[in-house]
């Protein structure tokens, strides 16, 4: 079967050139040849990232109407609007891979697509909005700064834009925490309580240990991923501990201690059973979040249809005018 061999040879050649491009730190662009697995991995990763931004609006949206004052409300609105924007940059990047946006929505709504598990935790007090901005956005920044150098051009460019905007998210959260931590005894308690609940889920955001991470090896060779889960998690802990100390908060981990020799903080083991439960859909808010997305999408159906009908009517009118003229 000489034909098959020939096609196979060609594929090997393309694969070599693809890897050489990546090794030379040259970005892969939408129309370039790429292995199917690279395309599939990126569609999965970028769309999950987009879903996370969109679902991430829900826990925070919960507090827009109850923000303590107008300044905080305007800030929270702007932040949640940014998250919508980030979701759209990412869906747009995913679509350059040839996947249809409605298909991605369908995957989310049918429960086939994942999103960051952190958004399956409830926001029970105003302090949670501070803790989310500071910790959740803080962890996201560590991850996204690393992804700015990812090998796929459109994904990398979306990350650059997102990182530019994300810094405000973390700072506004930390500012909320400062107000509470320097406030009354009740406010201090609120801050500590929110910190206790968000600390561990934030560490889980970086995913399983490197030794347990299923896609890591190939994704590192293809430079989709630039740093390992454990590396990024350590970076986040080292960054965040002094910030917690400044607030006078106690880190809810008895094993947390500075390790002089390593030059890093040591910290305790994550409850991986909880992590797996939330990933599998059994977290406190998994069902509520997907239901809210489905509901919003269904309720928007008439708007999408009306807009198309209006656009068609306008186009027809224009055509008629042009014919007459």
């Amino acid at each position: 079967m000489p034909l098959l061999t020939c096609a196979h040879m060609e594929n090997v050649d393309l694969m070599d050139r693809f890897q050489q491009t990546i090794d030379a730190e040259v970005k892969i662009e939408p129309k370039d040849w790429m292995p199917d697995k690279y395309r599939k991995t990126l569609i999965r990763q970028i769309s999950q990232h987009a879903h996370s931004e969109i679902v991430g609006m829900l826990p925070e949206g919960n507090w827009i109407t109850r923000a303590p004052n107008l300044r905080r409300k305007a800030i929270l609105l702007a932040k949640v609007q940014d998250e919508a924007g980030h979701g759209l940059y990412l869906y747009s990047a995913a679509e350059t891979m040839g996947v249809d946006r409605d298909f991605l929505f369908e995957e989310l709504h049918e429960g086939r697509a994942k999103y960051s598990s952190i958004f399956n935790y409830p926001t029970t007090s105003w302090a949670d909005i501070g803790a989310i901005g500071w910790l959740v956005d803080g962890a996201a920044i560590v991850n996204q700064v690393s992804l700015q150098r990812t090998s796929y051009g459109p994904y990398s460019r979306a990350m650059v834009r997102i990182c530019k905007e994300e810094s405000f998210h973390q700072r506004q959260g930390y500012e909320i925490m400062i107000s509470l931590a320097k406030g009354s005894a009740v406010q201090k308690k609120m801050a500590q309580d929110a910190f206790n609940r968000w600390w561990w889920p934030s560490l889980m955001m970086f995913g399983p240990h490197d030794s347990e991470s299923t896609h890591s090896a190939q994704n590192t060779i293809w430079k989709i991923k630039r740093h390992s889960n454990d590396e990024l998690r350590q970076k986040f802990v080292d960054m965040t501990v002094p910030q917690a100390e400044y607030l006078g908060l106690t880190i809810p981990d008895p094993n947390l201690a500075w390790n002089e020799e390593r030059g890093h903080y040591d910290f305790g083991e994550i409850d991986w059973t909880e992590f797996m439960q939330v990933v599998k859909g059994n977290g406190p808010c998994n069902k509520e979040r997907v239901a809210a997305r489905k509901d919003a999408y269904a309720k928007g159906e008439w708007v999408r249809e009306a807009a198309v009908a209006h656009a068609e009517k306008k186009a027809a009118r224009k055509l008629k005018e042009n014919v007459r003229a």
């Binding site: 040849w33 940059y89 747009s92 679509e95 350059t96 905007e165 159906e301 999408r304 807009a307 198309v308």
Partner: protein, 95 residues
């Protein structure tokens, strides 16, 4: 395909007077007017632009990456198109 599907548009933004429009990404909209309004919300929340172009993605014709060699390689051996190809005596200074 549902009848509510909006087509894809490519968005180009001029960040300030004196610079050209630059591609920033894409979005979905029912028509050009809505595409411009959406582009404003998605791509210029922080004064990133003063002018927006939107083009239906289906209307863009692009060169193929497979033609890279035929298209651009011939320019490779025409080094005499670059100023550094020419030796100017140092006494002349900047030219």
């Amino acid at each position: 395909m549902s009848k509510s599907n909006w087509p894809l548009w490519e968005v180009f933004i001029r960040s300030k007077q004196g610079l050209s429009h630059k591609h920033v990404g894409s979005l979905h909209a029912a028509d050009a007017e809505m595409a411009i309004e959406n582009a404003r919300d998605v791509y210029t929340r922080r004064m990133e632009g003063i002018s927006i172009w939107v083009v239906p993605s289906s209307e863009i014709s692009a060169s193929s990456p497979d033609d890279k060699d035929i298209m651009y390689e011939p320019a490779n051996d025409k080094v005499y198109r670059h100023p550094t190809f020419y030796n100017i005596p140092p006494e002349i200074g900047h030219m």
